[in-house]
Symmetry: C2
Subunit: 124 residues, 2 copies
């Protein structure tokens, strides 16, 4: 499913900027015009426009011209796949993998078969 992968690319990339995350946080309180979104951030309107385009491309924000103003709305549904992806790592949040591995290396018998294969030269 390449589409989902591409979708995750866009979602995570959109979330990687603090201004864009703040825009999303602001849209939680309700719809907002571009001017209302630009006001609290010390940044120019075109910069906000670009951020909105990134958010729009990720499907996180919907823009709709209403006369002279553009009303932006939140669509958080793409975050679901992102949350699902990250959640797969939940069981690793508390344990450091390298520490685990150091433990495993002191007991070679506990290495996974895959790791043993790799030591013989890798997968065919």
């Amino acid at each position: 499913m390449v589409t989902i992968t591409r979708h995750l690319d866009l979602t995570f990339a959109a979330l990687s900027d603090p201004t864009r995350r703040a825009i999303l946080d602001r849209l939680v309180h309700g719809v907002a015009t571009v001017g209302q979104l630009a006001q609290p951030f010390a940044v120019s309107r075109p910069a906000i426009s670009k951020h909105l385009r990134v958010l729009e491309r990720a499907g996180l924000v919907t823009r709709e011209r209403d006369g002279r103003v553009s009303r932006c709305g939140l669509d958080a549904s793409p975050m679901k796949d992102a949350a699902d992806w990250v959640d797969r790592y939940r069981r690793f949040w508390d344990q450091r993998m390298d520490q685990l591995v150091q433990y495993l290396e002191t007991e070679p018998d506990k290495l996974t078969p895959q790791d043993k294969t790799k030591k013989d030269g890798g997968t065919p």
Copy 2:
């Protein structure tokens, strides 16, 4: 807490590339050398090195030279903050905000005080 914000930047940015996500998925099965990581991906070793640097900067991967090889380990702990951030939007996953707003606009009394303020000229 600017540090956390910056940390989220790096984490989300690191997760926005499919190769890096695949590397993380692979490290779940255990530690791996750079060569083992580069093998399944149709990409050069320097490219993997760059991806690892991004993952390392985000704190998601630990690298440790062991003689001639570099062993890479997973550290998923930075994902916790990312998951917490995304989870705040969980209640919005199913509802489209613009649809909600259209409903609110038919009943102006249900607008939040903040929205009413914005219509008068924004926050001072």
